[in-house]
């Protein structure tokens, strides 16, 4: 019976983590899945979101669960600028160049943060952190994770609605389908792309802000999330925002179960193995319809 409850706990925790993965993944689905930009700085943007929220919290005492909104606004602007100034000059096919460019950006941002805030690990303290919600006598869920889960669901749905139902979202998808015809129907390609990129980056930033209460913060904290974001997008299916959401949840659960049965250290390895299996056997992912 205990085994059942351990597994259930792991699955529930996995869903909680997975919600944030879903946010990160949705942002990447927009950037890589729809825009085909290989963004190796995605995790770094998450880290910037964390630090922005942290800074706001330290300077003004504003609770991160509100502060993240400001941080994500800042990150949207940053993403928009990065696209306008740098990325838009890259031809679409040169994915290797995009990788090098975003890698360079990742290094610049990470080092800049380290110079500003130092390399030490920090942690914030909120009264909420100590609270747990108990389901029966066997399951216990940490309150901050529940709050971030709820927020992630809301924001994720918002992002989905934005991409599917607003003009800009549709324009972004149109550009992805046919970059040559889009300007002909009146789409300002660069502006739409910049907005999409900014939105994707903001998604990472939000996830970072929501992670702040429950994670240590240090300059290289974001790196682990970049590769995971790619795994999520491929698993969910290229170009599919909802696919990335589901894949994020799945990944969270899989990681937690792996940790439970095989130990923490194998969780990331399992992520990559899944990634390679998907690429080999079902490249279009769970929801994807695009050929790889």
């Amino acid at each position: 019976m205990d085994a059942f409850f351990s597994a259930l706990q792991a699955i529930l925790n996995g869903l909680l983590t997975g919600a944030l993965y879903a946010l990160i993944g949705m942002g990447m689905a927009l950037i890589f899945g729809v825009m085909r930009i290989v963004n190796f700085a995605h995790g770094t943007f998450l880290m910037l979101g964390m630090y922005a929220t942290y800074f706001i919290f330290v300077k003004t005492g504003l609770n991160p669960y509100f502060g993240f909104i400001l941080a994500s606004g800042f990150l949207f602007c940053l993403g928009y600028l990065v696209y306008r100034v740098l990325l838009r000059h890259m031809p679409v096919q040169s994915d290797f160049m995009q990788i090098l460019l975003t890698l360079g950006l990742a290094l610049i941002f990470t080092d800049a943060i380290q110079l500003t805030f130092g390399a030490d690990y920090h942690q914030i303290n909120l009264p909420l952190l100590a609270k747990n919600v108990h389901l029966g006598s066997h399951i216990s869920l940490n309150a901050p994770w529940l709050v971030s889960f709820a927020l992630a669901v809301v924001l994720g749905s918002g992002m989905y609605w934005f991409v599917m139902h607003t003009m800009i979202g549709r324009a972004a998808r149109a550009i992805a389908q046919n970059p040559y015809a889009s300007p002909l129907v009146g789409i300002n390609v660069h502006r739409v792309q910049a907005v999409s990129f900014g939105l994707g980056v903001a998604g990472a930033g939000i996830a970072g802000g929501l992670l702040l209460p429950v994670f240590y913060i240090y300059p290289t904290v974001g790196d682990q999330f970049t590769l995971k974001a790619f795994v999520i997008v491929v698993l969910g299916g290229m170009g599919s925002i909802q696919g990335a959401a589901v894949a994020g949840l799945v990944l969270g659960v899989v990681e937690n179960l792996t940790s439970l049965y095989w130990g923490n250290e194998w969780a990331l390895a399992v992520d990559f193995v899944i990634f390679l299996l998907v690429l080999s056997l079902r490249p279009s992912g769970i929801f994807g319809s695009q050929r790889v």
Partner: protein, 324 residues
């Protein structure tokens, strides 16, 4: 490369072999070791990345294979030269697996797959402490017992010369032409009878073998290796960047790239100290934005354009008012 250029290159390598007569300090020789090691690694990567157009960011898998073979086999009684060979065998085996899966993928998926493979290897090495020493690392026996820094430096020069020679041979051979055809357009390559799947694998095998030797040298010099170092994305990136910066698909590019990158790194580390990664990142961004073909590549393009322009100017071009 013309005959005369090859002679010059041979002279340069010979000159490099004489450098230890002038440079004595261990630290400096190790810096030069790094320059040549990465020149060799860049040349090896270039075979697959530059000539064949398959941009791998997972070469750490082969580097680490060589390093770990050197670390794990000699203590079991395996003679050092055999450990080197086994490292190559392991790297080629990984290449068969990685290539077999990844070469079927296009564009960014190929790159991501190569990263994923290397990462899996890194994590496996980290999580099997009984075999590999895990996170903490493992010792590596030294290849040389006498005049260590100088010997490793010379070994690196020899490896670079060998990689250079191989690259020159490839660039002038049928194999090299087939690689370039694959890079330019795989369908065209197929249409002229190139077995693209097999040729890509052959290039990867060659690349992996040289990279494994580099890894073995590296591990042997530093006497201790850790998965997060020899199997890391950082090593994969550095190898690729060295080649891209200098000019992928050229013979001199990776060498030049290694010289520029490694010396710049050294300077950044001592001058900027705190901010050296930031400067490194800026360098990447600048190169991508302004020198996408790398240094040698950009020079070559410029020369090619000049030649074409001169030829077009010289030929009397009958202006045709054409109607289809």
């Amino acid at each position: 490369m013309k005959r005369s250029e090859l002679v010059i290159a041979a002279f340069c390598f010979a000159a490099c072999l004489l450098v230890p007569l002038v440079v004595r300090a261990d630290y400096n020789l190790q810096v030069l070791f790094r320059v040549f090691l990465f020149a060799a690694m860049g040349l090896a990567w270039n075979l697959v990345g530059g000539y064949t157009g398959q941009l791998s960011l997972g070469h750490a898998a082969y580097f680490g294979a060589g390093a770990y073979a050197m670390a794990l086999l000699p203590p079991l009684g395996v003679p050092i030269w055999l450990a080197l060979v086994m490292g190559i065998v392991a790297a080629v085996a990984f290449a068969a697996l990685i290539g077999g899966v990844s070469f079927r993928l296009r564009g960014p998926y190929f790159v991501l797959a190569t990263i994923a493979f290397a990462e899996v290897l890194r994590l496996v090495a980290k999580n099997l402490p009984n075999v590999t020493g895990g996170d903490v690392g493992t010792q590596v026996p030294s290849l040389f017992t006498h005049a260590i820094s100088r010997s490793f430096y010379l070994a690196a020069v020899v490896l670079t010369a060998a990689a250079f020679g191989i690259t020159v041979w490839v660039s002038r051979s049928k194999f090299g032409y087939y690689l370039m055809a694959i890079r330019e357009d795989e369908d065209t390559a197929l249409s002229v009878g190139v077995n693209t799947a097999r040729v890509k694998l052959e290039a990867l095998f060659l690349s992996a073998a040289i990279t494994a030797l580099g890894g073995a040298l590296y591990g042997s010099l530093f006497l201790f290796i850790v998965p997060d170092q020899v199997l890391s994305l950082d090593i994969s990136n550095e190898i690729a960047i060295v080649a891209m910066l200098g000019g992928a698909g050229t013979v001199l590019g990776p060498i030049l790239g290694a010289v520029v990158l490694e010396t710049a790194s050294e300077i950044f580390k001592s001058v900027f100290h705190e901010a050296h990664l930031l400067i490194y990142g800026l360098l990447l961004v600048v190169v991508v934005m302004f020198l996408p073909e790398g240094i040698v590549g950009t020079v070559n393009s410029w020369l090619r354009r000049r030649r074409a322009a001169l030829a077009a100017g010289a030929r009397p071009q009958a202006r045709r008012v054409s109607t289809p």
